[in-house]
């Protein structure tokens, strides 16, 4: 009986690992860095090596790199920087995705650091305490984490965040000018971080155009519960909303619900979401981490490993508004949107997060 149990456990363990191996990211486990170590340990002996050395960046993220939202925005930025630096020979990228369990993410961060990666990015506001605990053990490694502003006063930790309220405001201005039912639905995940600031900014943008418009908000309590997010969107639509927006990787469900109606418009954030519903996505706020990643790398090479907070804003090109070219936005609405962008850049409008 007991023997059988062991056989079965081994069998199952084999099965699980067998399918986890090809992409380290399939299961939220930490075997990834371990297998990497075997391959790449040799060249990392001397962290401050010769100029031809490959710059090594590792990133740990809560959802998939293809989530059309938060994780993808960072992954795309890393790929762009890699291309600019001269491909894989110049910059190596390793990632662990689907790390929604913080202990798993912490283990991955520690593994990457101990493998001698130059920069380790913990891409999730839930990873802060892990970074705080691990960073002092690896004084030669740059850690970056977000979205948050706290570097814990450590010389090798960067914090980064996005002023999501700014793009939220722009989306709000556009939405207020397009709504006919005067009801706008917001499908939020959890009332924290950039999800909250985006939605706060959006509400301010709507109110700036027409304070009589109802902006109703729902929270599902999860960043990943697509089913509940979809139902929340359907509820907004049933209550009369003709425009929806929202934040997190689960909004693909909201976009699907909008698409089912064929007429409810969508405003995106974090990533350009136009491809999900080309006729219905008006504009998306896009997080562009490229400038920040480049600066972190440059600083690292120059000997500065951290101690600063980066904030993506419209005025530093960290935030961009991607108007969907397939959606025929009326000229006056576009003009109002662009004016609001300029006003935020110049400080004429301040959006409170």
């Amino acid at each position: 009986m007991f023997k059988r149990l062991i056989v079965v456990m081994v069998l199952l363990a084999l099965l699980v690992t067998a399918c986890a191996k090809p992409t380290p990211t399939a299961a939220p486990m930490t075997e990834v860095p371990a297998t990497e170590a075997v391959v790449t340990e040799a060249p990392t002996e001397a962290p401050t090596a010769e100029p031809a050395k490959t710059f090594r960046v590792a990133v740990v993220m809560p959802s998939a790199v293809t989530d059309m939202a938060f994780s993808q925005s960072m992954y795309n930025a890393l790929l762009a920087v890699q291309a600019e630096m001269g491909g894989e020979a110049a910059m190596e990228i390793k990632y662990s995705e689907g790390m929604f369990k913080v202990p798993d993410a912490a283990a991955a961060v520690r593994d990457y650091a101990s493998q001698g990666f130059d920069v380790v990015i913990a891409h999730g506001s839930q990873y802060g305490s892990s970074v705080q605990e691990i960073a002092p053990d690896f004084p030669d490694v740059t850690f970056a984490w977000g979205t948050d502003v706290n570097t814990f006063g450590m010389p090798n930790v960067y914090a980064y965040t996005a002023a999501a309220e700014e793009g939220g405001y722009i989306n709000g201005v556009l939405a207020a000018m397009l709504t006919k039912s005067k009801i706008i639905g917001v499908t939020g995940p959890v009332e924290v971080g950039d999800a909250k600031t985006y939605i706060d900014g959006f509400t301010q943008g709507v109110a700036a155009i027409d304070p009589t418009i109802t902006v109703s908000k729902t929270w599902t309590g999860s960043f990943s519960d697509v089913a509940l997010m979809t139902e929340a969107a359907k509820t907004h639509i049933a209550a009369g909303a003709d425009i929806l927006t929202g934040s997190s990787q689960s909004v693909v469900g909201s976009i699907g619900a909008a698409k089912d109606t064929g007429k409810v418009l969508w405003f995106g954030t974090q990533q350009d979401q136009a491809s999900l519903a080309p006729e219905l996505v008006v504009a998306s706020q896009v997080y562009d981490w490229i400038g920040m990643v480049k600066e972190i790398i440059a600083q690292h090479l120059a000997g500065t490993l951290g101690g600063k907070t980066y904030i993506l804003q419209l005025k530093n090109d960290g935030l961009k508004i991607a108007f969907n070219p397939l959606y025929a936005l009326p000229a006056d609405v576009l003009a109002a949107g662009q004016k609001a962008i300029e006003d935020i850049k110049t400080g004429k409008i301040t959006v409170t997060p």
Binding site: L12, E191, T230
Partner: protein, 310 residues
């Protein structure tokens, strides 16, 4: 004006609740078959995920919703065979092997999604079908008779499952195997075979539950699409006292409160969102505490059967 508004809200809540209950019904009624035969299958969520992926992939590539549904059932069957092999033939600890099956389904579905699809896409899945005449009744028609076929199927499954379990010899065999496998065995019932079939039926229904998400209610696939719904389905089996009708009430209670809290948020009722989100879980736990009847639990649940033992 106010009355109309109220009626429309109630209609909205009920329509939502019926949609939300669908995957729970398939998965929980499937799990009932499995548990009634004495096998606790905690891998429901993993089966749902893999089947959701399979059906989505097939619909994406063939545009045939029926082939997609078939794919979900076949994948469910394969997962059911795996679970029965491990828990019935090899007699492994059921809870542990179920968790293993869950992680296998979660990992494999994410991996396959990444390799074969890669990014979020949407498909045209099962569309709402208005039932003639009934669908034209004001309010009632909108609430009950304007859903996709998989939604109707989930509710029809309740009487069908009840009939199988209570009125057929086959149902009697399932229950006897789950209650007292040694006695059933001595009467010539093939315990292992009954368990295999029951687990596989459960797994195929879990497969349909997955498909009801990916090709009917959401029409998309994403990593960990179910977000733990399979585990709630297992809880609903206990809630429903291992009876299809009990599960129906449990699923409807949970979904209705969930739909209710969404509507309260949409209407701007001033309660903290965290409290609203907790509401369905709190109520379900409360109801469970009041109604649970452990006596109904199949006596041989979670116990592998070995001939000649005890």
């Amino acid at each position: 004006m106010n009355d109309v508004f109220q009626l429309s809200v109630i209609a909205g809540i009920l329509t939502s609740a019926i949609r939300l209950a669908t995957p729970y019904l398939y998965a929980a009624i499937g799990e009932t078959f499995s548990q009634r035969s004495g096998v606790l299958n905690l891998g429901v969520d993993g089966i749902m995920l893999l089947s959701a992926y399979a059906s989505f992939y097939v619909v994406l590539n063939t545009s045939s919703i029926w082939l997609g549904l078939l794919a979900a059932i076949v994948v469910g069957l394969l997962m059911g065979l795996l679970m029965s092999f491990v828990s019935v033939t090899l007699k492994a600890e059921q809870g542990i092997s179920g968790i293993g099956l869950y992680m296998f389904g979660l990992g494999l579905s994410s991996l396959l999604f990444k390799i074969t699809i890669g990014t979020v896409k949407t498909v045209t899945g099962f569309q709402p079908v208005k039932i003639p005449l009934l669908g034209n009744i004001p309010v009632i028609g909108e609430i009950f008779f304007n859903h996709s076929l998989l939604v109707y199927g989930a509710f029809l499954l309740v009487p069908v499952a009840w009939w199988i379990l209570e009125k057929t010899t086959w149902g009697l065999r399932i229950k006897s195997v789950g209650q007292n496998p040694a006695a059933a065995d001595s009467l010539g019932v093939n315990v292992d075979r009954v368990r295999y079939v029951s687990v596989c039926i459960g797994a195929m229904l879990a497969g349909i539950a997955g498909a009801s998400l990916s090709i009917s209610l959401l029409n998309l696939f994403q990593d960990n699409l179910t977000a733990g719904q399979g585990f709630i389905a297992v809880a609903l089996v206990y809630f429903g006292g291992w009876k299809p009708v009990g599960i129906l009430w449990g699923a409807l209670l949970f979904s209705t409160v969930n739909a209710f809290q969404l509507w309260m948020q949409v209407l701007g009722v001033n309660i903290p969102s965290d409290v609203a989100i907790m509401l369905p879980y709190l109520l379900t736990i409360a109801a469970l505490a009041v109604t649970i009847n452990r006596v109904r639990q199949p006596a041989a649940l979670n116990k592998p059967f070995e001939r000649g033992e005890s």
